[in-house]
Every structure is written in structure tokens, then in C-alpha cells.
Point group: C2
Chain length 317, copies 2
């Protein structure tokens, strides 16, 4: 059997046909045009799903379900997207609307949970009973897989470790709290720190790397500067890693997953990020000699995680 996975983003709708092993057979995408009303957007999702199935040469009977990964807070039981800020969706009946066009079971979960499921089925966490996937991007997205299933609490809103406070009364977070992990460990936070340091140290390599235009600073810049031995770059990266490690150690003390996979743009730094991070984390976790420890690895599926994980929602149920 096959599964349709839909990665509903603020910019694009990506749809893929996925096999039992989580491998994408064929995929396609269209722009979301997110200023539109939801019935139009969902119609496009359904039409693209049908097109992907047809283009794959697979019959509709061989497709078991459609899974949707979206930003925001789903009500997975009812198939309703309760709230998604960047789509301006509020209580949108995703399942009912999709089923106007395609007679298949429709599953729904948020993008971070779906990414975690993807890494668990077909990526870095394959074979692990319990795993956590952390995406370092605009925010810190986190998803937890327990016994092969996404864990999302009694109300589908769980696993928001990005909004775990690690510094009481610390940096302002977009969620309204102060000191959330996300306010220190997201790419946004790293860019903010880098800009601050560039202003304070106008002769640092950071300023040269962006030709003095601080608006060009992205999350790669401080790592590039650090790799070239720039003192300011090194300081920024060291500080960033410390807060990242504090949150990761919390995640380990709380979940003790077999594997934590780190994804998102910053994870492209690879071992330059992960090797020192593992050391910082191992110094922090609550551990006992002889007890096996969580492995921290890079996520493997990149942008495909949305499609694969959404598709695998159908296999999970």
C-alpha cells in the first residue's frame, strides 16, 4: 500500500506518494497563496494529491490514506486545524473538506510532530523505540515519538519543548513567556545574538562576511566566522551551543529517548556543531554509570520530512 503525505506550508503545498518504508515514490508542489480562504487552499491540496497519485501510475485503491502536516495546533481526532497563525486558519475542518474530493481517511498533525515521525520511520531515528526530533529554524520545533507513535498529549498540543523556559525572566519569547528555549536556541535567536555582537564589534570577521550589511546575517555567518578563528564568532557559537545543550540535557532528563535527531538549517553545520554539543550535553545530563545514553545525531530527511511524516500518520493509526 501507499500513503499520500501533504506538507502544508505558508509558501508551498508539497505532496508526495510514499511507500510502506517511508520512501517518496513521486512528489510535486504548488504555491499555497496563503491569502486565500481555506476551501480554495484545501481544494488545491486535494487536486494535487490526485495528480501525484495519477502521475505515479498507482491506482487510488492502492492508496491507504492522506496525511497532512501543517503549522499550528490540530485537533487530530476531529481532523480540524484549530489554529495556524501563518495560514490565518481557525477551526478549519481539514478532513471534511479534503473528503469532498478524495474518499480516503485523512489524518492531521503539526509539522514538528510529523517531522519526528518521518525521522522515526525512515530517517535518523529509524529503529529507535522512543525518539525526539528537534528542528532549529525560525523557532525550535520539537516532536516526540514514543513506541513508534507521535506523542501529542490529551489535547494534541504537547511536545512544545521550544516553549520550555530555561531562564526564568530571560529573553522575551514570541509565545508571551520569557526565557523559553526557543528564545536562545532558534536560528532567529542566533541571528539576533550575531547582529548584537556585530554592532558591538564592528571590526569582527562577521561584519566583513556580510560586507558591513548586518541585514545579511543568517545563522551560517557566525559559524563561518568561528570556523575561521574569529574571536567574536567563536564567542557567539560557544554561547549558542551552551543554551542549546542546556535544553537538550533537559529533553534527555525528561524523555531519555534512544536518539535525538537535530534538523533545520543550523544542523547543516554537522559535526562542527554536534561534536562539541554532545560533550556539553554529557556534562549536564542526570546519569548513572552503566545506564545507556541517548545518541545525538543529525536529522536525515531535510525538507522531505514533512511529506514522509504526514504520509506515515496513516501507518501509525
Amino acid at each position: 500500500m501507499y500513503y499520500i503525505g501533504i506538507d502544508l506550508g505558508g509558501t508551498n503545498i508539497a505532496v508526495g506518494l510514499v511507500d510502506e518504508e517511508g520512501k517518496i515514490i513521486h512528489k510535486d508542489s504548488v504555491p499555497t497563496l496563503n491569502e486565500r480562504e481555506y476551501p480554495e487552499i484545501i481544494k488545491d491540496m486535494a487536486m494535487l494529491s490526485l495528480k501525484v497519485i495519477e502521475d505515479s501510475g498507482v491506482s487510488l485503491k492502492e492508496v491507504k490514506s492522506i496525511g497532512i502536516g501543517s503549522p499550528g495546533t490540530p485537533n487530530s481526532e476531529e481532523g480540524i486545524l484549530v489554529y495556524a497563525n501563518n495560514l490565518k486558519f481557525r477551526n478549519v475542518p481539514m478532513r471534511a473538506e479534503m473528503q469532498k474530493y478524495v474518499d480516503l481517511p485523512v489524518y492531521l498533525d503539526n509539522d514538528a510532530n510529523v517531522a519526528a515521525l518521518a525521522e522515526s520511520v525512515a530517517g535518523a531515528c529509524k529503529g529507535a523505540k522512543h525518539s525526539v526530533t528537534i528542528t532549529l529554524g525560525t523557532g525550535v520545533g520539537t516532536g516526540v515519538v514514543i513506541d513508534g507513535k507521535v506523542y501529542s498529549g490529551f489535547n494534541n498540543a504537547a511536545a512544545e519543548m521550544g516553549h520550555m523556559v530555561i531562564v526564568v525572566d530571560g529573553e522575551q519569547c514570541t509565545c508571551g513567556r520569557k526565557g523559553c528555549w526557543e528564545a536562545y536556541a532558534s536560528a532567529t535567536a542566533l541571528i539576533r545574538q550575531t547582529k548584537k555582537a556585530a554592532v558591538a564589534n564592528p571590526d569582527s570577521l562577521i561584519n566583513k562576511l556580510v560586507d558591513g550589511d548586518l541585514s545579511k546575517i543568517n545563522a551560517k555567518v557566525p559559524f563561518d566566522a568561528a570556523r575561521q578563528g574569529d574571536r567574536v564568532g567563536l564567542q557567539i557559537v560557544e554561547e549558542y551551543m551552551k543554551y542549546l545543550a542546556e535544553g537538550l540535557a533537559n529533553v534527555i532528563n525528561i524523555f531519555q529517548p534512544e536518539i535525538i535527531a537535530i534538523g533545520g538549517g543550523i544542523s547543516k553545520e554537522g559535526e562542527y556543531l554536534l561534536a562539541p554539543l554532545r560533550k556539553l550535553v554529557s556534562e549536564r545530563i542526570y546519569t548513572v554509570e552503566g545506564v545507556p545514553q541517548t545518541r545525538i545525531v543529525a536529522a536525515q530527511l531535510g525538507n522531505d520530512a514533512g511529506i514522509v511524516g504526514a504520509a506515515m500518520l496513516g501507518k501509525m493509526f
Copy 2:
């Protein structure tokens, strides 16, 4: 069928015969005399189990299993207590040793997990699919029940939310890290803060309540002072509740359990603690309109939680 539950503590070994509903039919206890070697302690556990069964008038055939709740880190699969500081146990084969005396399946988990299972089966969290039980005592003990089962990670060491850092570089914790929730929200932390405040404010009601003998300060004293309107007492309690709320909001953002039960000595303050706490937590959680929220309640089983939860390990498997 019935289940034997053993609450192995540093001071006492408490054993109870428990029914399918988690009700204690009969219980008894003996001193642990924890300076002894483990074979002697475990022999006492086995002998007391047999005595409790006999005194209950139940036949051994009606007993399904023996469950043990102990401090420290268990290897639940192997039935080995990997490490327990206050018993000086290290890699003790609890199951094998017990089975020298009683031919029954033997299960093992730590005291915080067992307390959570007890509240889930027969206490404050009864009926909830997912729940968290938090014991505010010497430390902050936490246990998580997911789908009716204790969640303990891939290595039986999970659910240590007491060792979740909420203040990076904050107060020193016994685990070696700085800024753990336990270092702010345990009874130990509250007593430390109260002593500090009593020294700084020699004319506060706190000093009067303990006749000027600061060694008499326990976790009840600041609450007693606060209830009588003492400014220093009120400040201490307010500060304590703030940190307690920060950690609770984290637990909710991470697990979204249907119910959080708060136990331990401090929970005896009842609604004087819980009512303001609920307000502080609701201001902090990551929430969306229309999504149901975690209820925070007092744990119900008190000291019996150890026996009941240990017994119910046999029902969980």
C-alpha cells in the same frame, strides 16, 4: 487477583496486598536497617510479603505478582536496581533475589514513577489517559503515565523533571547541574529560602514561629507565616510559587497531560497553594483558544502511593 506492592525506603520497608482497583487490603512494615547488605534487606522484603499475604487470608495462588518501588535507577527489564544512593545499592539483582523466596513475577520501578502509577490507577489521576504526578519533598520527584503505563524512556531513567534546568547558571543542584527545577521547587529549596529570609529579617513572624531556632524551620513555616499576613512569609511563598509555576508550565507544554497531581508534604497546603498556582500556570502555558487544558489537583494517596503503585506495576505488564 491480588498484587503485592513493596515500598522500599531508606527507613522502612512497607508491604501491601492490593486488589485490581488499587485498593490496599492489608499492609505491614518493618525497618529497612539500611546499613545491612542487600541479601538481608531483600529477604526481609520477601518474608514480609509472605506474611502480608497470609495475614490477609488470601492464598498465594490468588497473587499475580510482586512490584517494588525503590529510590534510585532501576533496570526494569532485568529486575536490577542499578543504583540507589540512600540504600548504597549498586547493580542489585532484586528480582532474582526475591524469587529465591517467592515464586512470582517481580517488577521494579523507581518511587516517583510508582507514585504516578498509583495516582493514575486509584488516585487523583484516575480515568486520565496521560497524567503526571509531582512530589514536592526533599527533591522534586516526577512520574509520567502515558496511555496507562509508566513512561521511563529507553533506559528507565526518564521523567526526571526535577532535573530540568529552569535557570541556566542558577542555584546549585545536588545532581551537579545548576538551576534545576528541584533547586527551586523542592521542600529543601523552600526551607533554604525561608532560613535565608529569617536571617535577613530577624523580626519576621517566621522567627517567632520557630522560637528563634532556625533549625526548626520546615516547609510549613513560611506558609503559616504567609497565612497570618507576615510580609516576609508572603514574599517567600510568592517567590516559591513562581518557580513552581514555571516548571509546571514547562511540564504542561511538554506533556499536556489531562491531569497533574501534586503530592508531597507541601501539597498539604491544599488550595492555599493550588489556587494561586493554577493562575500562575495558566498565564505561562502555550495555549490556543478552544484547546482543553491540564487540570492541576492535589495527589490523593499520600504515603500509600508507594505500595499501590508498586503493586500496580504487575497490572501494567
